[in-house]
Subunit: 273 residues, 2 copies
């Protein structure tokens, strides 16, 4: 059966709109600062999509765009300006940054409460220890969907992704919910056979529709974090949705699944206690 | 079959002795500074065991013992003295520290190259990202043993421990070796049934001899990180060694397994590049 993300999305939209209104009244942390270097197509398109989501919930967005030739120190001083401005609740820097930049220094310069993309070592370390509040948006979306699909306590969850933006943080967050968590990846053997043993499987490889009905067991919940394009250029996920939807207990679609919550969750990271 | 740790231990002893000799000649990083607050029996006994290992490889140990009533600032200034002393290659602070101390501030004060117990957020974060060099000694010992038991690429490994000193860092290190890694714990269901599906199982709960032959499949390698005592006060691990040794392909003993490498690996953390 298809997992319908819209109730989660509506709930998030409502809660977030309320939080923004409160923040605006206090004049604290209601603005988002976006830093962009150059004008790469992908960055502009992401920027527009963030702006659209921000507008929906009432967040003001300020974009500071730098020329391709900008120096590291210009970026750093804008980050510091953003850190000092109490109206700004989140600072988002588009990556990849130019190769000659000290990216770690720039990411670490963001004040940890404003680091809504969870780029700083401190925020990532907190996730590792299980005390994290700010989470990478895709991992948070997968977690939220997994929880909505059913209680995670004692469940067996397989994640096919070991990155710092999906697999690793999601594994830590699922452990915190008392799930038993497996991290798999490109070198994992016999993924179809393995996947069948799990209550919940999260896919995030970015290969189009490689997960077929052979991977699915009864009562299984499937969360698709993949972003891929098929031969005809159509947006798809890792999962062959049509082949899987009748067999799986619940499965998210792409588009319309994990990705429909990520912008809102990114923005929600501005308003954590 | 019992996994004999002594060849690994001999190798470590030899390599470490050589590294210490080189460091002594250069006058850099050959001394260990131990900070102890109070004189708890467990601390004294651990201190003596570290001293013995250090002596074997030629490391000079300096113990700074504080009264139970010592203040945080005294500890911090000794840490800073140790950071500045180029003869000192490692600083070891016995935990738990008195409850009213800001433990995170003290742990974070240790210069990251001298933080041989991997207590600082920065060193733990590096493990999370997969770039870590300094590793908690028990996790490192389990990893070293697992690698000696056989190639880890594509192997399925189960770890029954989700702490920051064993399960989590070990999982990250095993992912880096391209193993498929599962983290289980006290809320994991049907551990005997689950364990049978794995090539390598690492136990670390500290419950005496709960792992019986029922948990073991053919060709399975078992690494016992448990430290427990049975009813007669005898040191044991998680694994009922006698019941398992003929069934498992390889199994470590307690005592004589993981724990026989930990002191040396802790000291080895003084000499990483």
């Amino acid at each position: 059966m298809k997992f319908d993300v819209s109730p989660l999305r509506e709930q998030l939209l409502g809660d977030l709109t309320e939080k923004v209104a409160v923040a605006k009244e206090r004049g604290i942390g209601y603005k988002l600062l976006i830093l962009r270097v150059g004008d790469k197509k992908a960055d502009i398109s992401y920027e527009n999509s963030i702006k659209k989501s921000a507008e929906k919930v009432g967040i003001d967005v300020k974009v500071t765009a730098f020329a391709d030739t900008a120096g590291e120190s210009e970026i750093l001083s804008e980050v510091n300006r953003g850190n000092r401005d109490e109206g700004i609740g989140g600072i988002l820097i588009f990556h990849p940054l130019p190769k000659h930049f000290d990216v770690e220094a720039i990411d670490s310069a963001i004040q940890s409460e404003k680091d809504i993309d969870c780029l700083s070592p401190l925020n990532q370390w907190k996730i590792f220890t299980g005390q994290g509040k700010i989470m990478p948006a895709t991992a948070k979306s997968a977690l939220m969907i997994a929880e909505a699909m059913g209680d995670l306590e004692g469940k067996r969850v397989l994640i096919i992704n070991r990155s710092m933006v999906i697999g690793k943080p999601l594994a830590m967050m699922l452990l915190d919910k008392n799930a038993t968590v497996t991290l798999g990846h490109s070198r994992t053997k016999d993924i179809p056979g393995l996947a069948k043993d799990y209550d919940v499987v999260v896919y995030g490889t970015g290969q189009s529709r490689w997960v077929t009905a052979d991977f699915v067991s009864d009562d299984q919940c499937i969360i698709d974090c993949g972003i891929a394009f098929d031969e005809s250029g159509k947006l798809t996920g890792d999962v062959d949705f049509d082949a899987v939807v009748d067999k799986a207990h619940l499965v998210t679609s792409v588009p319309g699944g994990v990705g429909s919550l990520t912008n809102l969750l990114l923005l929600d990271n501005m308003f954590l206690d």
